[in-house]
């Protein structure tokens, strides 16, 4: 009797989960990991926000290596998850191949344009946000030298570095920007030891503000900057809280909003290219009680003016990916 009961219970539970699985959205994090305190964590926060607001549940997967991408995508699509959101440019080729096989499923990719009828491509104007934090770095620097530490050396990250350098030059045309990349493969997003070491090297070259656009590698950069008693700038998520008094600001990339919107639209996801720029609130700089003592009124006024200038078009920030060159810096 008891056995019968539990068997019935189990099958009922299974039936329930299948039903709910049909409408469940899914998110796939890239190799930096869900808890990178930066890019992927922003995506997780967006998904969590949707879950708490609607009471729904979502599936999530974290990539451990490059080989899993296609398998993970197909698995989620087969399981009926819809829409499927993935973070990171590296999914581009895989999604391009897989999306056509599941015409009923909607996909959203962040940081990459995939031209398929059932794919929403969300791209951000990182150069604009980076320009703003670059301006703040240029104003805050006492030595006239600032640093930039990228993760993997790809055009997208050069776009961050290029906008940043342009912002620094706008604040101080004589400034020197030291640019470094952590590496050339996926592990560069998850190498905080090397990030810290690069930060120390930049500090010895005179840098007193360092901007990290490097996923979990940035955790090491921010830590090293705090140890060296210099300033740092976080990326993607608001990282001001990590070392109050040392993190000058964070370049916000509202990946959370992008994921939240995609989940909210659900199976009716609007496909096509979606550009999240400064005007649309896609990128911004972070202000909170942790960095308030570091940002002077003058700095704030100038960065707000620049923000207005970018929105109304009077300030043009160069997009590295448009022509793979950077007028403000050499990589």
């Amino acid at each position: 009797m008891t056995l019968m009961k539990s068997l019935l219970g189990a099958s009922a539970l299974m039936a329930l989960t299948t039903v709910s699985a049909l409408a469940e959205p899914a998110i796939i994090y890239d190799v930096g990991g869900k808890n990178d305190k930066s890019f992927n964590e922003a995506a997780f926060n967006g998904a969590t926000k949707w879950a708490t607001e609607t009471g729904g549940t979502f599936k999530e997967l974290e990539m451990q290596n490059e080989a899993q991408r296609e398998q993970a995508l197909r698995q989620l699509a087969e399981s009926g998850a819809n829409p499927i959101v993935m973070t990171g440019f590296a999914f581009g080729d895989t999604l391009n191949a897989v999306a056509a096989d599941y015409p009923e499923t909607k996909f959203a990719i962040i940081d990459m344009v995939v031209d398929q009828p059932n794919v929403k491509s969300v791209v951000f104007t990182e150069e604009q946000g980076s320009y703003l934090v670059g301006l703040m770095a240029g104003l805050a620097s006492k030595t006239g030298t600032v640093g930039f530490i990228g993760g993997m050396d790809i055009p997208l990250i050069r776009k961050f570095g290029c906008g940043y350098a342009q912002g620094v030059m706008a604040a101080n045309p004589a400034a020197k920007v030291v640019l470094n990349m952590t590496g050339t493969d996926g592990s560069a997003w998850n190498n905080p030891v090397k990030g810290a070491e690069i930060a120390k090297s930049q500090q010895s070259q005179g840098a007193d503000v360092i901007y990290a656009a490097a996923g979990a590698t940035g955790v090491g950069v921010l830590q090293a900057a705090a140890d060296l008693k210099i300033l740092s700038i976080g990326v993607d998520s608001n990282q001001n809280y990590m070392h109050p008094g040392s993190v000058l600001t964070s370049m916000l990339k509202r990946v959370d909003n992008a994921v939240y919107e995609a989940f909210k639209e659900g199976a009716d996801l609007k496909t096509g290219i979606n550009v999240m720029d400064l005007a649309a609130g896609g990128v911004d700089y972070a202000m909170d009680e942790n960095n308030a003592p570091l940002v002077t009124d003058d700095m704030k006024a100038k960065v707000e003016a620049a923000k207005a200038g970018i929105i109304d078009g009077s300030i043009k920030v160069h997009d590295y990916m448009s022509d793979n060159t950077c007028p403000a810096a050499t990589f």
């Binding site: 990991g33 869900k34 808890n35 990178d36 974290e62 050396d153 640019l179 470094n180 990349m181 590496g183 050339t184 592990s187 998850n190 190498n191 905080p192 030891v193 090397k194 810290a196 070491e197 690069i198 120390k200 090297s201 010895s204 070259q205 979990a216 955790v219 090491g220 830590q223 140890d227 060296l228 990590m242 990589f331």
Partner: protein, 321 residues
């Protein structure tokens, strides 16, 4: 390039060499006793995780170091059991340990701390960064030369002192003579009435302690938390350095410093512009990043002359056939 830049690169070299040096000496003890150890990487990783986890929970750096060594000892006991007592294949046992550590650290980390396999960032449980300079109240940034020699954590000096100590132990003590003999001709050691099994277990135990120090230095000294796969192949580079050094402690120091130096160079210079010295070539960053690995291949291809491993290495000792 000015003097400060050179000092900074040398300082970075010392920091990057330390985990390699620990791991290389660890491999030296094990292999000199005739037990090949591919599992240096896994033991380092497990120690890095256990150290950072224990330090995060207790807030004590000492507890972290002990936990790290403990984790490495457990894995070494498994390796010893498989390859010494049960005479299994030493390479397979080592590879298994690497896979085991790589997966288990992430699973346990995710289950305990809920941060995707990371451990929480350490504040008070961290290893002191510049204990000697702090003791004398010297500001390292103002005295770069002092910083180069004295501005490191305690474990850096432990690693450097372990080199002459290993030399003394191997070449000037009875234990060292027997350890080397058991790696060359265990039958002779056995005939002399000394236990081969006990000697090999002792060697594997020393290996574990050194791997443990390498791991905790990475997660609690160089970094403030454990990150998955944070040892990033250093265990294998250490094995290459060990072959480069022909299984001798003092050459091991130079080999590790060389690898650390290449690391430091690739960190400092993305693109090396040779225009400054009259050569119109820019060496791309990819090349400097690949240098340690290129060097490893060149070394293993036999460019350093014949590297003869301990004769009984890799073979389990069977008392009677």
């Amino acid at each position: 390039m000015d003097l400060i830049a050179i000092l900074q690169i040398l300082e970075s070299t010392i920091r990057m060499s330390t985990p390699l040096l620990f791991a290389c000496l660890a491999g030296l003890y094990s292999e000199r006793a005739g037990v090949f150890d591919i599992g240096l990487e896994g033991k380092m990783l497990a120690a890095a995780f256990a150290g950072a986890a224990a330090a995060a929970v207790t807030g004590s750096a000492l507890a972290g170091v002990l936990a790290g060594i403990g984790a490495a000892l457990i894995l070494a006991a498994v390796h010893g059991l498989a390859s010494i007592t049960f005479r299994g294949n030493q390479l397979i046992s080592g590879v298994a340990i690497n896979f085991f550590a790589s997966g288990l650290t992430i699973v346990l980390g995710a289950a305990w701390f809920g941060q995707g396999g990371q451990t929480p960032a350490l504040s008070e449980g961290r290893l002191a960064q510049t204990p000697i300079l702090d003791l004398f109240g010297i500001d390292g940034h103002a005295h770069p030369v002092l910083e180069l020699f004295l501005g490191h954590g305690i474990l850096v000096y432990v690693a450097l002192l372990a080199v002459p100590f290993t030399w003394w132990l191997l070449y000037r003590t009875r234990f060292g003579l027997r350890l080397r003999a058991v790696g060359e001709n265990p039958a002779a050691v056995d005939t002399a009435g000394v236990s081969v099994v006990r000697l090999r277990y002792a060697a594997v135990g020393i290996t574990a302690v050194l791997c443990g120090l390498a791991g905790v230095y990475m997660s609690m000294g160089l970094n403030t938390s454990f990150q998955r796969e944070m040892t990033a192949g250093r265990g294998y580079i250490a094995l290459a350095a060990l072959i480069f050094a022909k299984w001798k402690p003092v050459p091991a120091l130079w080999a590790c410093l060389l690898f650390g130096f290449l690391d430091a160079i690739s960190i400092r210079f993305q693109n090396i512009d040779l225009n400054g010295i009259g050569i119109p070539v820019v060496i791309p960053g990819q090349f400097t990043n690949a240098l340690p690995f290129i060097l490893t291949v060149i070394i293993l291809a036999g460019f350093v002359g014949k590297a003869i491993p301990p004769r009984a290495g890799g073979e389990p000792y069977v008392k009677e056939r």
